[in-house]
Amino acid sequence: MAAIAGIGELKPVRRTQGETTLGMIAESVRLAVEDAGLDKDAIDGLLVGPQVGETPQHVPATVAEYLGMQPRMANVVDLGGASGAGMVWRAAAAISAGMCEAVVCVLANTREEEPLRSPNRNPIREFDVPFGASGANISYALPMQRHMDEYGSRPEDFARIAAWARHNAQFNPMAIFHGQPAGVEEVLASPIIASPLHLYEIVMPVAGGEAVVVVSPERARGLKHTPVYLLGAGEKITHRAISQAPSLTSGPLRAAMAQAMAQAGVTAADMNLLSLYDCYTIMVALTLEDAGLCRPGGFGRWVAEHNLGFDGDYPVNTHGGQLGFGQPDLAGGMTHIVEAVRQLRHSAAGRQIPNARLALVTGNGATVSEATALVLGAD
């Protein structure tokens, strides 16, 4: 299935003196990769354990950023003492699937004399929060302002994305904003939360849940519905803190979408549905540009020139997107998958895209820093 090419081990001590979990991870990784005779840049997969009390979420991105890595596959394996073994077969599966070629699997811990009373000892807590930078909005306001300064994009260009989401939500009775359309003026009239972001350009947090079942293609053909096939997938993690983003106007979805579409042998223009993660309007703007549908800086004109409704020339987020449907926390990303499946099964009553056969689905996490793209297709 796969082979283990490098090992690293730290000498156990009863007590560490001023160590951090991230530092212990870094040394363990350095030893294993050196033992494998590989360069740091050859490692394109990362599997880590949970860091309860230190880093509540986004552990893989936190570790990747600390190590200066930008993996194509990253995950937490949270199986207690089975985590190590669990990492190895998961690494093998990722390599077999063509998602990456060399995976470092790492678990490490400190045992300090005085564990800090306040949990949350990660770099975001230390170098962002004290400057008044808490919460997700800032990490999207900063790329948005950069885009405006660099390309001259205007508030109405972004607001139009939110207006389309609200429009599409009118055809989805499940959407939180069903019955509440909003045009460009209304979006621009909503309060500024963190410049240049208006309130209506930000998802409404809701409670909810989403789930999908994945089987082999052969198995799917014997089941109830038209199978929706996974034709391509790509993933990329570039950073954790917005201050460490390699670019503010292009994200890891660029690489993730390119890989997914290359695997599927299609381009973005072939898609019947663009089911694009839309936590904020800037997210859709950057995704359209990174997908190659328009030039860098050109999303405003593209959105103005196209019809993003289910009956338009470029259907985008026919369920209303998260901007129209609501963001049920992490399940928000899965709504884009669920809607794509409905469309490809031709079961999206009241908003069916004619002849829907191909969909591009994107997921985004943290600060435009965790990206996964899927190409889904039906016969």
């Binding site: 991230l22 040394e27 350095r30 230390e126 170098f127 201050s243």
Partner: protein, 146 residues
């Protein structure tokens, strides 16, 4: 900022680690200090146990120029942490330091309508609650001092 000053704020302070403590100690003394890797000669921020460029553990502290370029900025009207409401709106920015690394900080003493990407910045030090933070203002050319 209005009646409440930054030093009055009761806000989450940084929790230094053994590795990062020199950064915060230097800030308290009005100096911006960063690690520099002795193996690959590149500068590092935020402080770490290993160089993120080459993974060498041989990092040494040096004083940085304090100069940087504004990458982007945002005026926070609704802070994520309620303790910052007292000084909202305030401006958070990403600064590309002359030495290479980028950091998040506060922008001070620049009018909202003067702000644009690529402004040249210089560090200054401000007390926020119990800590001294490196923040950034315009890097004014020497001619203006005449």
């Amino acid at each position: 900022m209005q009646a409440t000053t930054l030093s009055d704020l009761k806000v989450p302070a940084p929790i230094p680690t053994r590795v990062s403590r020199p950064f915060w100690d230097a800030a308290r003394e009005g100096r911006l200090c960063l690690q520099k890797c002795e193996a690959c000669a590149r500068w590092v921020f935020y402080p770490r146990s290993h160089c993120p460029h080459c993974w060498s553990p041989r990092l040494a502290w040096h004083e940085a120029s304090g100069k940087g370029v504004l990458q982007s900025y945002t005026a926070i009207h609704r802070p994520g942490h309620p303790a910052w409401n007292a000084v909202a709106p305030y401006t958070v920015a990403i600064v590309a330091l002359q030495e290479g690394p980028t950091m998040l900080s506060l922008l001070v003493d620049i009018d909202q309508d003067e702000m644009r990407v690529r402004l040249p910045l210089a560090v200054r030090f401000v007390r926020v609650g119990d800590f001294t933070l490196p923040v950034f203002g315009l890097d004014k050319p020497l001619e203006k001092l005449k």
